[in-house]
Symmetry: C2
Subunit: 145 residues, 2 copies
DNA sequence: ATAAACCCTAAACCTAACTTTATGTCAAGG
DNA sequence: CCTTGACATAAAGTTAGGTTTAGGGTTTAT
């Protein structure tokens, strides 16, 4: 069992954030002893899940819904699985999107490297993909799909 | 040359957003004719770059800095390249982070699939990585690094 | 010539996810 | 006893990135 201060250190999360999560209903049945929060193994695991779902782009109010399902027991397994499937699809799309952004950045790094050598962009401005090095052309074409 | 409404349609961005970007200084020397904005090829390319930099996690005020460098000409090529190198490193880290989140989600999907078959979590709760299917174990271990 | 469909600005408003502030309780140590 | 430190609450404040509103001007089709 942990106090809020211990959990704060454990996860490097401000105490105020943990209290905020609690206020938002992210720990549906956390115990208290004379008003003081008791972070149990259950709550610690909840925080791990919260971190994951947050990184997957989910909002607090939807994470709350998930936590409520957890508190309701086995009858909500299907909903919980459904949720994770949706997050999975979302994150897969997000990674693909980020890969395209990365390709644009790779192209731009090359572009400004060349611009520095040339001193201006007169050669670069009208450049065609077929005049770029192989690696750069691939990045360029993926970025512009 | 485009009006704000045409650019809005072209990029599927609200007119209000384009005006907001302008107010934030993202089009440093956009022309106007009797008060009306003239989106030129330069501004259209700027919007493409804005979209990319935004997706790479950059804030508006830093994008503004970049746009000012662009308006200053060839002497700022090194700064611009530096910026893109930094964004590239950031996005690479971001993709790795997302891959870990994805692995956690893959694990959770499997977990709840099993929980549904079992009807409870008594078998799952104390499960060790070596008792998981290969694909799941890999995801689990990457997610928990 | 008048209504619709554009364009403009300034300023107020919005939302999520926190953070800060003001106030108070309680236990332990010097 | 009294100060320090950890806990608590409620409510106000913050930030980014817009959006909405209120008030006007201009152009175009009927």
């Amino acid at each position: 069992m942990y106090t809020i201060g211990q959990v704060s250190q454990l996860f490097e999360l401000p105490v105020s954030t943990l209290r905020y999560y609690d206020k938002e209903g992210l720990f549906p049945d956390m115990k208290r002893v004379s008003g003081i929060r008791q972070f149990d193994e259950k709550e610690v695991e909840a925080i791990r899940v919260i971190e994951c779902l947050k990184k997957s782009g989910m909002e607090i109010k939807d994470i709350k819904q998930f936590m409520e399902w957890c508190a309701q027991g086995p009858q909500t397994y299907p909903q919980r699985r459904e949720l994770f499937l949706k997050r999975k699809a979302y994150v897969e799309a997000e990674i693909e999107r980020m890969q395209q952004v990365l390709d644009m950045l790779i192209f731009k790094c090359w572009y400004y490297g060349e611009a520095m050598r040339d001193g201006d962009e007169t050669r670069l401005q009208p450049i065609k993909p077929e005049d770029m090095p192989e690696r750069i052309r691939q990045a360029y074409e993926n970025a512009h799909r």
